[in-house]
Structure formats: C-alpha cells, structure tokens
Amino acid sequence: MTLRIHGTVNLGRLVLSLLAILATFLILWQGFLFLRDSGDTPKIVIAAIAVLWGGGGIALLFLVANWLIEPLPAKWIRRLQPFIFVGPGIAMVAYFLAIPTARTFFASLFDRDGSAFVGLQNYIDVFTQPAMLVTLRNNLLWIVFGASLTIIFGLVIATLADQSPLETIVKAIIFMPMAISLVAAGIIWKFVYAVKDAADSQIGLLNAVVVALGGQPQAWIAQLQPWNNLFLIIIVVWLQTGYAMVLFSAAIKSIPAEIPEAARIDGANEVQVFFRITIPSIMGTLIAVSTTVIIFTLKIFDIVIVMTGGQYGTDVISTQFYNQFFVFRNFGLGSALAVILLIAVIPIMVYNLRQFGRREAF
C-alpha cells in the first residue's frame, strides 16, 4: 500500500508496522498449520491452543490494524478507521453468506456435475419428480403442523402460567428442551417411539401405553405414512414451544392489567378476554414468533436425518438437499433445493428490510 500523505511520514514506524502485520500473520499462519496438521497431539492441548489462537488472533488483528493507522494524519484516520471496525465483519458475511448465495444460484442453472447449462431444468425437476413432490409435501406438513402446534401450545401455556403461582417452575420446565440439541432430542424421542415384537415387553413408552390399552405395538416413525411425519413434528413442537411461550409470556405481561380487569367487570369470561383482548394486544409478538418458528421448521434437518434418514417418505428439503449433494452427487439439483429454501424466506427478508428502511437512526 502506497499512500501519498502530506506532512511527515515516519519511515521507521511504517517499516515497523509492516513487520507487525507480517508477524501477526505469521503467528496466525503457524497456528493455522499446527491446528490443521496436528493429528497426534493430545486433544486437550489442541483445544487449549485452538481457544487461544481463535480468540486471541482476532483481537490481535484489530490491535495491529489500529496501531498501523494511528500515525496517519487525522483526516486519513477518520476515513480509514470505520473500515477497520466494520471491515472484517462485512468481509465475513459477504464471503460466508452473500457471495455463496450467488454461487449456489449460479450452480442451480447447471447439470449434475456443473458441466452443462440447463436453464431452469433443475427447478422443473423439483416440482415434477415424485420423490421431490413428497419432499415438498412434507415441508408443508412441517410448516402447517409444526408452526401452528408450537404457537398454540406456547400461547396456551403462557396464558395459563400467567395465572398460576407456579409460573417460574412451569416456564423453566417447558423451556428446558431449548438447550438440547436436535440430535439428543432425536435420541430421547426415538426411545419413546421404540418398538419391539408384540410378544416381548415394550421398552418404548408410547408402545407400552398402546399395549396396556389393548392395542398392537406400532413402528410409529416407519409405518403409517404420511402420518409418521407427525411423530417427527411432535419432537420439534416439544423443543420449540418453550421459545414461543417465553416471548408470549413477556408480551402478555406488558398488557396493562386494567384492560382485562375492566372487561371482566363488564361480564366478559376468560375465553372472551383471551380472544378479544390478549390476542389482539400481542399481535406483533405473535407475528414475530410465527415467522421465526416457520423459518426454523422450514430448514429442519437434524431431526429427520437422525430419526429416519429421510426414509419412509419423511424427506424434507434440507435432507433432500444433503442427499443430492453428498449421496447422489447431483450438484445442480442440490443447489436448486437450497435456492428454493431461500426463495421461501424472501418475503420475510423484504419485510425486515422495509422495517429497517423506516428507522429514524439511519
């Protein structure tokens, strides 16, 4: 970098700065090589070095960059400094999200190994091949049942808990699954759904209940298509209801207590208060939570891969995307599926941008 700067330039300092940058990159590079190629080192050592390298490296980069521009004239500092602050962040979101979006869209217009341009053929395949149609149907099931059950449970529990002295403990219990990974949740529920021969005693809770009531044990997540999808959806409802409940609960508490009280004095019953006062008052939160839950269920991957691997008619876009890329090696179709996920969230993106555009601060 050569800068024509009026005034005195301290050459020694410039050389030192360049050396500092070089040293920083050298340290980071050595750490990088060590972490990349250190197969035999004890894991605890790797983990410690990893933490130091990752956390310290970033701080070091900012420090050195700042130190570098400090000797420059004030005008140049004012111009360059914002880019030191926002530059790394913007570079990373650009490299990891913005540019790959364009690359994936581009790849979706080519055939399975990216050699021939096929136009929109991959998109036509997504909407015509039978396996893909099952996938799209399942995603619809996930959104319709997953999102609506989460919202309903979250709303009901938040309303009930608001009237109970046990509120804190109830909320902690319902919220707890939020801390669990979808893989662990998969194990928890696979165990609930476990099935054994009718002659043996059942070790899965659901089948034990069914047998105790005189029924036959069922393979809940394998048979009963397409309803086996519902047994997968229940897992995510179990997991996400806590999220919806916490946000609804906060919104309900912000309704001034006089309003529902006044309605009750006027003779409204609890059901009327709920539908005429609570729901309209928390509409904003209701929309925000619904969007978040819909986006989450739209991208669902872990649960399906862990529970069924997408077999028995349970594939969703995200698992199909994974299988197209890493099992069938069909890059064009895989990319098209990812683009469809993106298209599905574009309305939400536009809404967010509009809200942002209205902000005074900018």
Binding site: P100, S181, G309, L342
Partner: protein, 362 residues
C-alpha cells in the same frame, strides 16, 4: 406488575399435566442411562417404579407321565400345553406356568408381588466415554469386546469447536456494531441493509460453495474450518443485536469522552465493551447453544475426520451403527446435554433477553 394471581385448580391441574408430559421423555432418558444394559434392553424404564409382577413361589419338575398333547391337570389348574406356556391362573390368584419345551421343563407356581427393578450403574457412562475397547457379557454369559465410542474425545472436540466459534463472531460483531452505531462513512446504510437481509438467509445455501473453497485450501476437517463457518453464519445476528444495544447507549457518554481526546479505539475498549456486557452475554449464550447443538455445519465441514468429530456427530453415528443399544445412546445423549443445560439454567436471564431482542433471526 400483577400482584394477585387468579389461580384455580383447573389452571394448576392442566399445567401439572402439561409439565409431566413435557418432562417424561427426558426423565426416561436420564433413568435409562443409569440402568444396566440388560435391564434397559428388556424392560421399560418405568419398571424402576414399584409395580406388580409375577414372581416364582414354587418350582417342580412336571409329572413324568404327563401327555403334553392333550388337556393337562397340574397343581389344580387345567389347560392345553400352549395355555400353560403362557400361564394358567388358579382360583387363589396364583398362576401355573410351564417353563421350557415339551421335553425339558419345570413347572413354576407364581404370584403377583410388588417389585421394583433398580439396578443402577455408571457402567454405560464409562463404556460410552472411553475410546478403548471394553468387555460385555450378554444374557447367556458369553463375553465379547466392543469398541468404546470415545465421547470424552468428542466432548473435548466440541469444547474446542464451540469456544472460538463464540469468541470470534462476538469480537468481530462488537467492532462492527460500534462502527455502524457511532461512525459515519460512505456506504454505511447499504452495508447495514446487507446485514439485515442476511439475517434470514438459510445457511444451506452457503454450505457447498464454502465447502468447495475449503477443499482447495485443505481446510476440511479442521477446527479452523468450523470456527470460521460458524462465525460467518452467526455474524449477521450478532451485528444486528449488538448494534441495537450499542446504538441505544446514551450519546453524551461518548461525546464527553471525545472531548477528553480519546480515540475511537480507546472509547470502544474502555467504555463501550464494559457497558455492553449484557448484550454480549446474551448473544454469546445464544451462539454457544447454537454451536454446541449444531449438527449440519459440523457434518459438512468436519465430515469423516474422526479426530475432530463433535458430540452431535458421534451420537448420530452411534444411532446409525448401533441404534438399539439404548443403554449407550441414553448415556451419550445425556453427556451431550449436560453443559448446555448448565449454561442455560445458570444464565437463563441473559438468554431470554437475547431471544426477545432477536426474534427476527433465520
């Protein structure tokens, strides 16, 4: 604040039922993880509760002359061979059971007794944590060795993946948020709009192009690959949340610092970072839970590099290769839940605050 809770038996009763339903799957997992291998695989976990079961009172050899092809009379009970095989109940509530086949057998008199099957053990945890081989004996006493699942190694890997994956984006985002909030530079609004737009972009769309680059850089399977990916995917939310917080800090604090001649860098490190601890903490917890529980990103960027596999990947592999070893799966799942549950309950307040602020996330 509400002072009076309109609590009724109906409200508390329904909450109790909901809480029990929500807890039972996790309780079943926890209980099973401490039961012996044979118990887990043959009886339901709820049998540790007192329940009635047929237990032997008396046992004798069948009369040598008995003809098993016709109706038989044994110990006051009568029935066919098949009926005796499943047990014939005699008037005093006991039952007579033919144990064995037609030629070699014993007759048992059994009665209903209250029993509990509590044989608790830490063996499952030992077996699943170790990376070494261990010996198991099956029901017939035959011994064979099995390879441990090395979850202790995977636990360390998960720590090594998670900590820098939290520290890096928090650091970068704090700088960027400060830059957007308190500096004026060309393109500021457009760049922040980019961040807002990327909030909801599904990360599936970015995975394959990034993977492509990683392969070129020989980064695949390293911690670095996963840290950078998690940092990149987490940054839009981090910048957005921290911007909201930092831009709402009172302007006069900064102005008086500027008057005193402090630079942006000094103000950021000395003033803004300490003031932003609540926001930094809520994002850090959010990202911690997200990364710790992530499966997809690890699966793509770590792949089959067994040295760097994280807990969710190891668990998913065990489900795939020995999906009916419930004694190991339950212990493994609980190991993976331990740290996030601790963090979650210790810092729930910050986490909820982060959720409330970030309900637009994709």
């Amino acid at each position: 604040m509400r002072t009076r809770k309109r609590s009724s038996a109906l409200v508390n009763g329904s909450l109790l039922v909901i809480c029990i339903l929500w807890l039972i799957p996790t309780v079943g997992l926890l209980v099973s993880s401490f039961r012996t291998r044979d118990d887990v695989l043959s009886t339901g976990w709820w049998t540790i509760l007192p329940h009635q079961e047929w237990s032997m009172v008396q046992q004798f050899a069948p009369p040598p002359s008995i003809d098993t092809t016709v109706n038989m009379q044994i110990a006051g009970a009568s029935g066919t061979f098949d009926q005796f095989r499943s047990g014939v109940v005699i008037p005093d509530g006991k039952r007579v059971v033919w144990v064995g086949n037609r030629r070699a057998a014993v007759i048992q008199i059994q009665e209903q007794r209250w029993v509990t099957t509590i044989h608790l053990t830490l063996q499952n945890y030992q077996d699943v944590l170790t990376g070494k081989e261990y010996e198991v004996a099956d029901a017939n006493g035959n011994k064979h060795t099995e390879k441990g699942d090395d979850l202790s190694g995977a636990f360390l890997n998960t720590v090594a993946v998670t900590v820098p994956s939290v520290v890096i984006p928090v650091t970068i985002a704090a700088f960027a948020a400060y830059g957007f909030a308190w500096m004026r530079f060309p393109g500021r609004k457009q760049l922040f709009a980019l961040v807002v737009a990327l909030l909801v972009v599904p990360l599936q769309i970015a995975l394959v192009p990034v993977l492509h680059d990683y392969v070129q850089l020989r980064l695949n399977g390293t911690f670095l690959a996963v840290w950078l990916a998690h940092a990149g995917f987490g940054l839009p939310l981090a910048i957005y949340l921290l911007y909201n917080y930092i831009s709402s800090l009172p302007r006069d604090i900064l102005e008086s610092a500027f008057v005193d001649g402090a630079s942006h860098f000094t103000i950021f490190v000395r003033l803004i970072l300490p003031l932003s601890v609540p926001a930094l903490a809520s994002y850090a917890i959010f990202q911690f839970l997200w990364v710790w529980n992530d499966y997809l990103v690890a699966l793509i960027f770590i792949g089959n590099q067994s040295g760097t596999q994280v807990l969710t990947m190891r668990l998913a592999e065990i489900i795939g290769s020995r999906g009916s070893d419930w004694h190991l799966l339950t212990a493994g799942a609980f190991i993976s839940m331990l740290l996030p549950l601790l963090v979650f309950f210790a810092l729930q307040r910050y986490f909820v605050r982060g959720l409330t602020a970030g309900s637009v996330k994709g």
